[in-house]
């Protein structure tokens, strides 16, 4: 499974990591809906670090699409909330 961290790069993760990735992703979503900036940051960082540590960076000369795309590491809680109210990080 290829996971892209937006503005950072692509990582290849094994199929065994899918469940954990899903779990962390959902945790980040509930943090962005319910909690403070700090708590969201902690949950989101956990998700990003999981991808960075479990995954292997995809070589520069590979031009394949990703299965999953994560928002940029510097996403704020407001931006993350906007993601779910439809505006999104990439308008247009």
């Amino acid at each position: 499974m290829i996971v892209r961290i937006s503005t950072e790069g692509q990582y290849e993760l094994g199929p065994e990591d899918t469940d954990k990735l899903n779990e962390l992703d959902n945790k980040a979503v509930s943090a962005c809906n319910a909690d403070t900036e700090e708590q969201f940051r902690a949950a989101f960082s956990e998700l990003l670090d999981f991808v960075r540590h479990r995954g292997h960076p995809v070589p520069e000369d590979e031009l394949g699409p990703s299965d999953v795309i994560l928002p940029p590491p510097d996403t704020s809680i407001e931006e993350a909330r906007a993601e779910f109210t439809g505006e999104g990080l990439i308008p247009g």
Binding site: T7, D25, P65, S66, L70, P72, G88, I90
Partner: protein, 283 residues
């Protein structure tokens, strides 16, 4: 997949398909993607130039404000030496505002520097991706039959499209931040132009809007503390120096002269220190 990644993936994919739908035959898709990448690279370069310009502008403002801080400090000392405490207080209040501004400018310059680095890294990455794409598209065109090419091309184009969308996103975020910085730089420029950090001697007798704003802005306790410190430094003999205000620190050295002689004495051999020290001074 739901969650943050699901939303993000959907958005990026719709962006890519919009990008690629414009071209119909495979060869055209490849050329179109390639042209788009070149355009994007130009935008990245322009973005970097913008960041550098904003940074230079803020650095220039920093220099100006630094000079104002020195000037206001000197003016406060002069005013205090001349016994005009109110004037000294106003000068310190202005210095306080200028220093706060300076701190915030420092942070912004550092942020812009970071952005410049990030964008330069993006540019290099994009450049190498484009180079790979260029050679790949020639291989695809030459090697595959139309049916095969369609699949290969859509794969390569989607990957490249994603990469482009990603670099585009990084650029957009950098540009948004730079816009904020520019607005900030404009605001500081206006504040400067309004005379907020200006020479105190240009100040009229009554209080103007800026004075009132300054009083609200600056922390009174900080100013009080600095005023007290300055008074202590100036000591009791200050009024005598009031005639030579031009020199800025003129009042202080008069007090420190004796102290400095005392400090110079120790290197002289301990045998007859008092005598030699006095001889040195006698002219």
């Amino acid at each position: 997949m739901p969650g943050l990644s699901g939303r993000m993936s959907t958005i990026v994919k719709s962006k890519i398909s919009k990008l690629l739908d414009r071209a119909e035959d495979p060869g055209e898709t490849l050329e179109y993607s390639y042209q788009k990448q070149i355009e994007l690279l130009q935008n990245v370069k322009k973005g970097i130039a913008d960041v550098v310009t904003s940074k230079k502008r803020l650095q220039l403002q920093e220099e100006n404000i630094k000079q104002q801080v020195v000037k206001l400090d000197t003016q406060a000392r002069q005013a205090l030496a001349a016994g005009q405490e109110d004037l000294a207080r106003t000068a310190l209040e202005r210095k306080n505002v200028a220093q706060t501004e300076l701190q915030s400018l420092d942070g912004q310059v550092a942020q812009l520097e970071q952005q410049q680095e990030q964008m330069t890294a993006s540019e290099q990455k994009l450049r190498s991706k484009i180079e790979q794409f260029r050679s790949k598209k020639e291989v695809i065109k030459a090697q595959y039959s139309a049916a095969e090419a369609q699949v290969r091309i859509s794969e390569a184009a989607t990957g490249v499209g994603e990469e482009m969308a990603d670099v585009g996103l990084a650029m957009q975020r950098a540009v948004d931040k730079t816009e904020n910085m520019k607005a900030r730089a404009d605001a500081v420029g206006e504040l400067e132009a309004s005379g907020a950090f200006e020479d105190l001697t240009a100040l009229g007798p009554g209080e103007d809007d800026i004075d009132r704003q300054l009083k609200q802005l600056s922390s009174t306790t900080e100013v009080d503390a600095e005023l007290e410190k300055m008074k202590a430094e100036l000591g009791g003999g200050a009024p005598a120096a009031a005639g030579e205000l031009g020199a800025g620190d003129a009042a202080a050295p008069a007090e420190e002269v004796h102290g400095e002689d005392g400090v110079k004495s120790p290197p002289i051999p301990p045998a007859e220190p008092a005598q030699k020290a006095h001889e040195g001074e006698a002219h």
